[in-house]
């Protein structure tokens, strides 16, 4: 089955040439995404599949500038949206699509869904956001690591010993208290993700469990995707 985009593909991209598998792991920071992706990646390579990884703000084109912009907190929400979209499409066209063309499994550490959720909370127009990201390739699976806000808070504090400005939604002025703002912000994000879940058919994974239990479930689900795409191997 051919890959699809949500709308028209980017100029010059031939979807029928994309033979690999695109799997997205979504979830809040500290929900354990990167640990799970690292383990999945090793497991897949040991099985003989080539794996490429992608994530947000890693583009060569604007990644470093974007990180700098986040430090300064001087750009308007729309400018930030467009900056993130530029970063996303740079990676889509210059790393994800070439990897899919070469038959790789692409494990994406977050995708357009995080970007859409963050922007919606900040007053982004849903139709505008949909159109902005309409050239994205539809993933073969989206796994959402669902963690309770309480667990997120505990993991964040025990790993970093501090709260992150953006992950606490401090720019929204929900509360002057970072701890409280974090909780309010993560709650709003959850509501947004639930809306997206219905529209984009996420597979929800209960991430309030041990790393190995989550990994086991992910592998079973990934196997089903591989069956569909790489059969017969």
């Amino acid at each position: 089955m051919n890959k699809m985009c949500y709308g028209n593909p980017p100029p010059g991209v031939k979807l029928e040439n994309l033979r690999g598998a695109l799997m997205v792991i979504e979830g809040a920071d500290s929900s354990g995404r990167s640990t799970q992706i690292a383990e999945l990646s090793d497991w897949l390579e040991q099985k003989g599949y080539a794996v490429a990884r992608s994530g947000l703000t890693r583009s060569v084109l604007v990644g470093p500038d974007l990180d700098k912009a986040k430090e300064g907190n001087v750009l308007s929400p729309r400018t930030m949206s467009l900056f993130y979209a530029t970063d996303f499409y740079d990676q889509l066209e210059n790393s994800i699509i070439p990897a899919l063309r070469a038959g790789y499994i692409v494990l994406a550490d977050r995708y357009i869904f995080t970007l859409i959720a963050r922007d919606s909370i900040r007053g982004g127009n849903p139709a505008w956001l949909d159109s902005l990201y309409s050239q994205a390739v539809v993933p073969d699976a989206v796994f959402f690591l669902m963690t309770s806000t309480r667990n997120l808070m505990e993991r964040t504090l025990s790993t970093h010993y501090r709260l992150d400005y953006w992950e606490s939604g401090m720019d929204l002025g929900l509360s002057r208290d970072w701890y409280e703002s974090f909780i309010l912000y993560q709650r709003r994000l959850r509501t947004e993700y639930k809306k997206l879940q219905r529209r984009y058919a996420f597979e929800m994974i209960n991430a309030n469990r041990s790393v190995s239990a989550i990994q086991k479930e992910l592998r079973a689900r990934v196997d089903m995707v591989l069956e569909r795409i790489y059969r017969p191997v």
Binding site: L61, S76, L82, T86, Y89, E93, N125, W128, Q135
Partner: protein, 223 residues
């Protein structure tokens, strides 16, 4: 969209159409009349320059990212300057506006509907002057000095021709087709850009006065 006290004026046209000269003269006239007026240029920020430099060197920019970088830059300028100035009752003069993106990115193969939605947050100008002239005249004005053409300016990224001058010709021809179509869709005010400069400016000022009550924009307080 809500009504706001300012007025938004844009000029569009091919490279070599003389639009920058004309908007400069319009700016001078309005200043002379003591109007609240603000001038803004397309694509002037460091961010765009940095990203296009990097993109060109590493051959990274695709039509989509090229378009998005310009939209990012424009959004910043629009929300930080253009819109507040309009709300503050200024006449805002824009040397190129979103139609430049529609024309150039359209030639690069971006989906027109996607482009229009991308710039969906932007106000339509009160007047868009389109300085129209035959392609050969525009090319002649630019190319007679054998200038240093820039890679993207000449459309080298879409592979029309390996020769930068030939690529520029072909690219400008396609941009003109886009502009002519946009002129209908968006009701551009067409100015014959082959006329002598003062003649064009007289037309520009007459149309301006017909559509906009200049007296309303006079500064009340002498600066």
């Amino acid at each position: 969209m809500e009504t706001i006290p300012g007025k938004l004026i844009a000029v569009e046209g091919l490279d070599g159409s003389g639009k920058s000269t004309q908007i400069h003269l319009l700016h001078q006239w309005l200043r002379g009349l003591g109007c609240k007026v603000f001038f803004s240029e397309w694509n002037s920020s460091e961010m765009v320059k940095g990203a296009t430099r990097k993109g060109k060197k590493k051959q990274l920019l695709t039509p989509t990212t090229f378009s998005l970088i310009h939209a990012t830059d424009f959004a910043d300028r629009y929300e930080r300057q253009i819109l507040p100035m309009l709300k503050g009752g200024y006449i805002v003069l824009c040397d190129r506006y979103m139609f430049t993106a529609f024309a150039r990115d359209g030639v690069r193969g971006c989906d027109p509907a996607w482009l229009r939605e991308l710039y969906g947050f932007v106000r339509q100008p009160d007047i868009t002057y389109y300085f129209r002239l035959p392609l050969e005249t525009a090319l002649g004005r630019i190319l007679e000095g054998r200038p240093q053409l820039k890679f993207f300016e000449a459309g080298m990224d879409i592979g029309l021709s390996p020769d930068i001058f030939e690529s520029f010709r072909l690219f400008q021809g396609k941009v003109k087709e886009q502009y002519d179509r946009l002129a209908d869709d968006y009701g551009f005010t067409i100015v014959d850009a082959t006329l002598p400069i003062p003649g064009q400016q007289a037309v520009v000022r007459r149309i301006f006065q017909e559509r906009i009550d200049v007296a309303r924009f006079r500064q009340r307080v002498q600066q």
